[in-house]
């Protein structure tokens, strides 16, 4: 019996253990042979003999089970080890692309205004003089047209110089109350370090009944919006001039690069100009035949926001599809 026990405890693989199991516990195995001897044992000794055999069998079974558990565990361990890989090799597979920072900034701006129940409106890129200028209180030869170098088409069409014509289209197509934004590409004939012939704007317009919309309302929404975009910045409204609003203002935020100390980006002023806005000029309402209404409008350049938010150094780079820039936004 001793040597049988040794065989079990020294089995070195599941295969040899299985062989041993058959040799021991099989129908023609060693235990079966021992039990066969029982019939030859004389009557009075039979009981003791059988008890001894059962004890040995139970002992062997126990040893076998223990050995099996151990070898099984070792076997799984071996399989797992064999499948080991260096996971760190699979870092950064660059399988995802990226949104363009200007478009992503536009998304962020649009999200804000959608949350405030503004509708999105759109209009053609090639506009006519009426929608792009005339209706916006920019009569022909008005000096304010000088502010916007315009691309003209031979049939009198103009590439829209701002998103403001969408205001006019929306007012003509719908009725107050209006609460809209118009995001999109605009065009000006200007090409240097800080100007590209195409860029993007978002225009906003709110129209309500007469006496309902005030400059104070404009201050509230734009301050909130700029805090949403830039966090805890200081905000400054400066009176300014736009033909389609009166009173008008430009809005500055405290410089996010130097926190108002003065740096290259803010030309040492501590302020960054980010928005134009105002109360809609009565001449604009007249052009769309609105009476007894009041409203405010605002507009901003998306490239400027994107460049400020992401500290992008070069405007023109944004239009070149340069993946060295785009990959950074993955």
């Amino acid at each position: 019996m001793k040597h049988l026990e040794e065989q079990v405890t020294q089995a070195d693989s599941l295969g040899s253990l299985e062989k041993i199991r058959i040799e021991l516990f099989g129908k023609k195995g060693a235990l079966a042979a021992e039990f066969a001897k029982l019939k030859d044992v004389p009557g009075p000794e039979k009981k003791a003999f059988a008890e001894g055999l059962n004890k040995s069998k139970a002992n062997l079974q126990k040893l076998y089970d223990e050995r099996y558990e151990l070898l099984k565990k070792e076997e799984i361990e071996r399989i797992l080890k064999a499948e080991a890989i260096d996971v760190s090799l699979y870092s950064n597979l660059e399988a995802k692309g990226a949104l363009h920072p200007v478009m992503a900034t536009m998304d962020k701006i649009i999200d804000y205004f959608i949350a405030l129940n503004f509708s999105i409106e759109d209009g053609p890129k090639v506009e006519d003089d009426f929608h792009n200028f005339e209706a916006l209180n920019l009569p022909k030869n008005h000096p304010a047209r000088d502010m916007q170098d315009t691309f003209f088409c031979k049939d009198g069409g103009v590439l829209r110089t701002h998103t403001s014509p969408v205001q006019i289209r929306t007012m003509l197509e719908t009725k107050p109350p209006i609460r809209m934004i118009a995001p999109g590409a605009v065009f000006r004939k200007d090409y240097d370090l800080t100007h590209t012939p195409m860029f993007h704007q978002i225009e906003g317009l709110v129209v309500e009944g007469k006496g309902e919309v005030s400059f104070a309302n404009l201050k509230a929404i734009l301050s909130d919006f700029l805090h949403y975009m830039f966090g805890e910045v200081e905000i400054r409204f400066r009176p300014s001039f736009f033909p389609f609003t009166e009173p008008s203002a430009e809005v500055d935020i405290s410089c996010i690069f130097c926190e108002g100390e003065g740096c290259r980006v803010c030309s040492d002023t501590g302020w960054l100009e980010v928005l134009g806005c105002g109360i809609v000029d009565p001449n604009v309402f007249k052009a769309v035949n609105y009476e007894d209404v009041s409203g405010y409008a605002f507009g901003l350049g998306i490239e400027r926001f994107a460049m400020l938010l992401h500290k992008i150094p070069d405007l023109r780079m944004l239009f070149e599809g340069d993946t060295r820039l785009l990959e950074q936004f993955r």
Partner: protein
């Protein structure tokens, strides 16, 4: 518009107002400060008087000067030629620091001791005032030898550049800015006046007359002077340099100086030779045609009111008798007329077109004051004027409406006081509505909102409390908003599929569009004034922009380029359409361990999978496009909802060469087709279905879509799905191929019987046999 502190001081006492306060005030009243700079003259630079000046014994170009600096006399060697004529100069004494590493020390110049330096303007950090050293005079104040130059505030002045908005022509002068500042700071404006002290004057009326032969729409005023010893004082020269407007001669400098100071548009003319013969009386006649007023003297035209002057009649320093013209015309009528006639305009037209100062006598008096006080000029007595009779513009306003627009209660008294300080005349009355008379210099004020803006400027936007607008209305998710959401979702999918979003100009190069056979906008609809030759038309495809971007990326050694863009394109009739365009070029994925650093080149299959990940299911059929980017044998129409909405293709190898690209695939799809459609769910079967593979031998050139169309037309109720899984060609099949289609057959009603499976399969086989001679393998 550039102003300086001391220049403003002529009209308003701002000596107690700090630079910070000025900066704040300008910004808050809508005169945006572009820059503010205080000039600081280095210490130990003092006023000196040149006592003598002798040639250096050993150097032709050097002078040895004895210079009195108050408490002592210094010998200084000076290289500037104009030191010979100089009396008062700026002397940098020993120890003065003119730069970070430039300190004045005792020196020996070619053997001669020199104890200091006579300075030029630029050496002191001032704007360049021409060659040589800076010659001082008492225009900066009483000159005291040895006094630090920095103590003269007209030299160490603060220069402020304002960015004026297009409506504020009234602030195109020192006087105009001072007037606005006076209202904001509540400091009185100093009114300028001048009476000539010269008693022996000839009356101007004796030598000249002015008449209008028609009604004219502007105002004119002429004065005349014998001009002698014309001198540009140091402060004039310095201030003109501060505003970067130094002119070609002393007379032009004076005229510019007066215009910049008062805002009155002034031009100077030669009288003799150009306008009249010697001793003739000058008859000036103004006549208007189509809103343009032409002015002539004795029949010779010399000026167009507010627009330009004849170049030949322009007075210069040689002119003895100069006729000065002050003019004003309301820009609202003038600019249209000038544009309609296409008239050439001179530099001063800018001031006129923005609204120049209408008080002409202030301009002529200031001119007279300067020329009689600082030069030896003698004016004729009196002036000749034609004044346009203009009715004053009156706007009816009320405090309620102004308060509503601002969103804060503004008292009537406050409105009255602000408007009065801005030069408006207001009739105070107990009525709710009251009239405000607009000053002539504010042609931009037209209605109550313009007036409100004036109130807002002066009370300051900071003093308006922000108030949220209450919302009470229906939601506004309109189709454009939904389209935006769809676009955002597609963009996000494209990013997930590994593409980078680009934004490119909506322009294109006509020659490239032509070369690659894309439509061109009809000539008569095209852009007149393109910015550059390579952006000379509106694009009819985004793909060329993407090719150019890819080429650029290749030049940065990129091996794998995946770009997409959603944008507007324009057809022949300039109709706008939004498309989604893709390009993928080079390796199909990044180099990494999964591909042993050797990823395969992009292929049709991978590109199609990526497209499908972005835009969902689509069908492909043989290409029907015909631009030159397309590879004739690896290209396809993209079909969504049974409509061709775009194409995809391998890039034609010759085009790939043009753009230095290796294997490249492109696609352009109409965005309209990608807007998600409403979906109704179909019933789902509870019963098991079976897959059956159908291997058919068909003609080699039979495209799969014809097979699928035939199967589709059978409308088999049990056939839930089918798709090609294998195509096999070999020599034994000759002109045929083996096509394996996997069918999924399932019933909604119950478990499938073998017979009904067989029936479905047989129907397909026999119909394909009939249509295309297909045989089971």
């Amino acid at each position: 518009m550039i102003v300086t502190r001391t220049w403003l001081n002529n009209f308003i006492d701002i000596s107690e107002v700090s630079n910070e306060k000025l900066y704040e005030t300008f910004n808050s009243i809508g005169l945006e400060v572009d820059s503010i700079k205080t000039y600081h003259i280095p210490d130990k630079v003092v006023v000196g008087k040149v006592l003598s000046c002798e040639k250096h014994p050993d150097a032709d170009k050097l002078n040895v000067c004895q210079i009195d600096i108050g408490n002592a006399t210094r010998q200084i060697v000076c290289g500037a030629a104009n030191v010979v004529d100089a009396e008062y100069v700026a002397v940098a004494t020993i120890g003065a620091k003119l730069g970070d590493d430039f300190e004045i020390k005792h020196a020996k110049l070619r053997g001669v001791e020199s104890e200091g330096m006579v300075c030029s303007a630029s050496e002191l950090g001032l704007p360049n005032l021409g060659d040589g050293i800076m010659i001082l005079d008492e225009s900066i104040g009483k000159l005291k030898l040895g006094k630090d130059l920095n103590e003269y505030d007209r030299v160490a002045d603060t220069v402020i550049e304002l960015e004026l908005t297009a409506n504020r022509g009234d602030c195109l002068s020192i006087y105009g800015v001072a007037r606005d500042l006076s209202a904001a700071l509540d400091i009185p404006l100093r009114v300028f006046d001048y009476e000539s002290q010269n008693q022996e004057k000839i009356g101007l009326a004796r030598v000249a007359e002015l008449k209008a032969s028609t009604k004219i729409n502007g105002s004119l005023k002429y004065v005349m002077a014998d001009v002698q010893e014309l001198h540009t004082s140091f402060v004039f020269a310095l201030r003109l340099a501060f505003i970067d407007a130094t002119k070609e001669n002393a007379l032009a400098n004076v005229v510019k100086y007066v215009t910049h100071t008062t805002g009155v548009v002034l031009r100077a003319y030669k009288t003799r030779e150009m306008l009249v013969e010697e001793d003739d009386k000058i008859t000036i006649t103004a006549s208007m045609e189509d809103e343009i007023t032409h002015i002539e003297a004795n029949g010779k035209p010399f000026s167009i009111l507010g627009v330009s002057q004849n170049e030949e009649s322009k007075a210069d320093d040689e002119t003895v008798k100069v006729l000065f013209e002050a003019s004003y015309i309301n820009p609202d009528t003038l600019v249209d007329a000038v544009a309609a006639k296409g008239l050439e305009t001179d530099e001063l037209y800018y001031n006129t077109s923005r609204g120049s100062e209408p008080d002409l006598s202030m301009g002529t008096k200031y001119l007279m004051y300067l020329l009689e006080s600082y030069s030896g000029c003698n004016f004729f007595d009196g002036s000749l004027s034609l004044e346009e009779e203009l009715e004053s513009k009156i706007i009816t306003i009320n405090d309620r409406e102004i308060s509503e627009l601002i969103g804060r209660k503004i008292d009537k008294a406050e409105i009255l006081s602000i408007l009065t300080s801005l030069g408006f005349r207001v009739q105070s009355s107990a009525e709710e509505n009251f009239g405000a008379t607009i000053p002539k210099f504010r042609h931009d004020i037209e209605n109550i909102q313009d007036i409100t803006e004036e109130i807002v400027r002066i009370i300051g936007i900071d003093n308006i409390e922000a108030k949220a607008l209450k919302f009470a209305e229906a939601q506004r998710t309109n189709p454009t908003t939904q389209r935006y959401h769809a676009k955002k979702a597609i963009r996000q999918s494209a990013v997930a599929a590994g593409f980078y979003e680009t934004v490119s100009y909506a322009f294109s190069d006509k020659s490239l569009l032509e070369k690659y056979e894309f439509p061109l906008i009809r000539e008569e609809l095209d852009i007149i004034n393109p910015i550059t030759e390579d952006l000379n038309t509106l694009r009819s495809t985004i793909l060329i922009n993407l090719l150019i971007a890819s080429k650029r990326n290749v030049s940065y050694s990129k091996k794998s380029i995946s770009l997409f863009e959603i944008g507007t394109i324009f057809d022949e009739n300039r109709r706008e359409k939004e498309v989604l365009s893709f390009i993928i070029s080079g390796q199909k994925e990044s180099e990494n361990v999964t591909n042993n650093g050797k990823p395969a080149m992009i292929d049709f299959e991978t590109f199609t999978k990526k497209l499908s990940a972005v835009i969902g299911d689509f069908q492909l059929r043989s290409n029907s496009q015909n631009n030159a980017l397309i590879h004739p044998y690896q290209s396809a129409d993209i079909i969504i909802n049974d409509e061709v909405c775009g194409f995809m293709s391998k890039l034609h190898p010759t085009v790939a060469d043009d753009f230095d690209l290796s294997d490249t695939f492109i696609a352009e799809i109409s965005f309209d087709a990608l807007i998600p459609q409403h979906i109704n769910a179909n019933a789902i079967s509870k019963f098991q279905g079976v897959y059956k593979d159908l291997s058919l031998v068909v003609d080699k050139n039979l495209p799969y879509n014809q097979v699928s169309t035939a199967i589709e037309s059978l409308n088999l109720p049990l056939l839930k799905k089918y798709y090609p899984v294998d195509v096999y060609e070999d020599a034994s099949l000759e002109e045929q191929k083996s096509l394996t289609i996997r069918l999924f057959i399932q019933s909604l009603e119950g478990t499938l019987e073998d017979s009904s499976i067989e029936e479905t399969v047989n129907t397909i086989v026999s119909s394909l046999e009939e249509a295309y001679g297909a045989k089971l393998r």
